[in-house]
Amino acid sequence: MSPISRGFRGRPRRDVDPARIPPGQYTVNDFPVLSAGPTPRTPLDEWSFTIQGEVDRPVSWPWADFLALSSETITVDIHCVTKWSKLDTTWTGVSVDTLLEGIDTEAAYVTAWCDGGYTTNLPLDDVTGGRAWVAYRFGGDPLDPEHGGPARLLVPRLYLWKSAKWVRGLTLTLEDRPGFWEAAGYHNRGDPWAEQRYWSD
C-alpha cells in the first residue's frame, strides 16, 4: 500500500478512458522528445532499410523502393517509459510482416539498429502478426527527424524506447541480445501494462 502524500490531489483526466492508460502513465497532447544523443540527419539518397542476420540472404530497400512497398495507416496509443502516453496517434508505414514476407528464419529475436548507433532488442513475436511497423509518416506528414524521421520502428504494445528512432534495419537472431537501454538497466521486454520499466520490474 502506498502512503498518502499529504495534500496531494493530482489531476486525473476525466476525459480519458482510464482503461486506456497503463499504470503510472499520464496522457499528453504534445509529443515529447527523448533520445540519448544528437539527432542524426541521414540524406535520403544514403538511406536504406535492411533485414539481415539469420536469413538466407539479406534484403535491402533504398528509400524510393521502401516507399513503394505496400503501406498501412494505423491509429494507436503510445506509451513512453518516462511516464507520458499519447492516445490516438496516426502513423503510416510498412508492416514488419510485409518486410519479412518470403523470409525463412529460425530466429526468435530481432535487434533493431539505427543511425546514431542506437539498438533495441525484441522478441520476433512482438514485431509480427500486425504488431509493428516501420513508420515514415506521422499524422499525415513526413516524420520529423526529432521524432525519428525519416523512419522509425513503431511497436505500440511496448514502451516507446522499443520503437527505435532513425531505424535502418532489423537483425534476426537466435538469441536475445540486450540493446542500448536494455543494457543500461531498463526492462528487457518493456510491457507498459505490466509496468516493466526497469530490469527488476
Partner: protein, 245 residues
C-alpha cells in the same frame, strides 16, 4: 558490481531549500538508498487520498558522495506534480521514490575529460551532481560549464557555483536570454556557435559533452556541437518537457 533492484522506497523530506522563485531543492532521507552516479534520476510517486497516483522523474542534484539525496524541482506552470513538490511539500512529509535510473547520461571522475557541460534552465540539475562529484573528489579535470537561463533570478545554485568555479580547471559561463542585470558581463543570447566556440574546449581535444534542458534547447545545442566538429558519440543528451500541455 551487482545491480540493486529498482524498488519503491519511502523517502522522508528532511529539508527544503528555496533555490529560485520557481525551483526548490528537496533533501530526502531514503532508507537503504543503493547509491547513484552523477547524472542519474529517480522516479517519484505521489498518492492522493482517493488512491489516485502520479509518477514523474526528477534529476538527482546531490553528489554520490553526499549523505542526503537531493532533488531540485522546477515548477511547471499547469503541471500536475511539480506545483505540489514546489509549493505544498514540507519537511517531514513522505513520498515514494525509486532509482537510481539512467545509464549513458552519467559521469564519474575516472571517466576523465575534458568535460563540457551545457544546461538550459533546470537542465543544470544533473550537471550540478557531476560538478559536486568532481569537487568531492578534488578532481582538476578541465571542465567548462555553460548555463543558459532567462534571467539572473532563474539561475540555480549561483553562490555554490561561484565557489566551485574557484577550483582548478573549472570555468563557468552564463548566458541570460531574456533580461540581464546592469553591468552583466556574460553572454546575452540563446546558445549559438560563437558562444560554444568561446566556451570551448575545442572539438580537437575530444571532450565528453553533456547537454540537458528543454527539448528545443537540446536539439539546437546538439546540432551546433555536431556542426562545430564534436563527435556525435561523445554528446550525451537529456531532454525534458513540455508535457501535459
Amino acid at each position: 558490481m551487482a545491480r540493486a533492484p529498482i524498488v519503491w522506497r519511502l523517502g522522508t523530506v528532511t529539508e527544503i531549500i528555496e533555490e529560485t522563485p520557481h525551483a526548490r531543492t528537496i533533501a530526502l532521507d531514503a532508507p537503504d538508498w543503493p547509491g547513484h552516479l552523477a547524472g542519474q534520476h529517480v522516479d517519484v510517486r505521489l498518492t492522493a487520498e482517493d488512491g489516485y497516483q502520479a509518477e514523474r522523474s526528477y534529476s538527482i542534484a546531490s553528489a554520490p558522495e553526499s549523505t542526503m539525496l537531493e532533488l531540485t524541482v522546477e515548477r511547471i506552470n499547469d503541471g500536475e506534480v511539480s506545483p505540489y513538490l514546489t509549493e505544498d511539500l514540507r519537511a517531514g512529509d513522505q513520498f515514494e521514490l525509486r532509482g537510481p535510473i539512467g545509464g549513458p547520461f552519467t559521469w564519474r571522475v575516472q571517466d576523465g575529460g575534458p568535460l563540457l557541460l551545457i544546461a538550459g534552465g533546470s537542465g543544470l540539475v544533473p550537471l550540478m551532481a557531476m560538478l559536486r562529484h568532481r569537487a568531492a573528489n578534488g578532481s582538476d579535470v578541465d571542465t567548462r560549464l555553460l548555463v543558459s537561463a532567462r534571467s539572473q533570478a532563474d539561475l540555480l545554485y549561483r553562490d555554490e557555483l561561484a565557489r566551485l568555479a574557484q577550483a582548478d580547471g573549472l570555468e563557468a559561463s552564463y548566458t541570460l536570454t531574456r533580461s540581464r542585470p546592469e553591468g552583466w558581463t556574460g553572454f546575452d543570447r540563446r546558445v549559438d556557435a560563437p558562444i560554444l566556440t568561446r566556451v570551448g574546449p575545442s572539438p580537437a581535444t575530444a571532450p565528453l559533452v553533456f547537454v540537458c534542458g528543454p527539448t528545443p534547447f537540446v536539439e539546437r545545442v546538439a546540432d551546433r556541437l555536431v556542426e562545430l566538429g564534436h563527435r556525435p558519440q561523445a554528446i550525451r543528451t537529456e531532454r525534458f518537457g513540455p508535457t501535459g500541455v
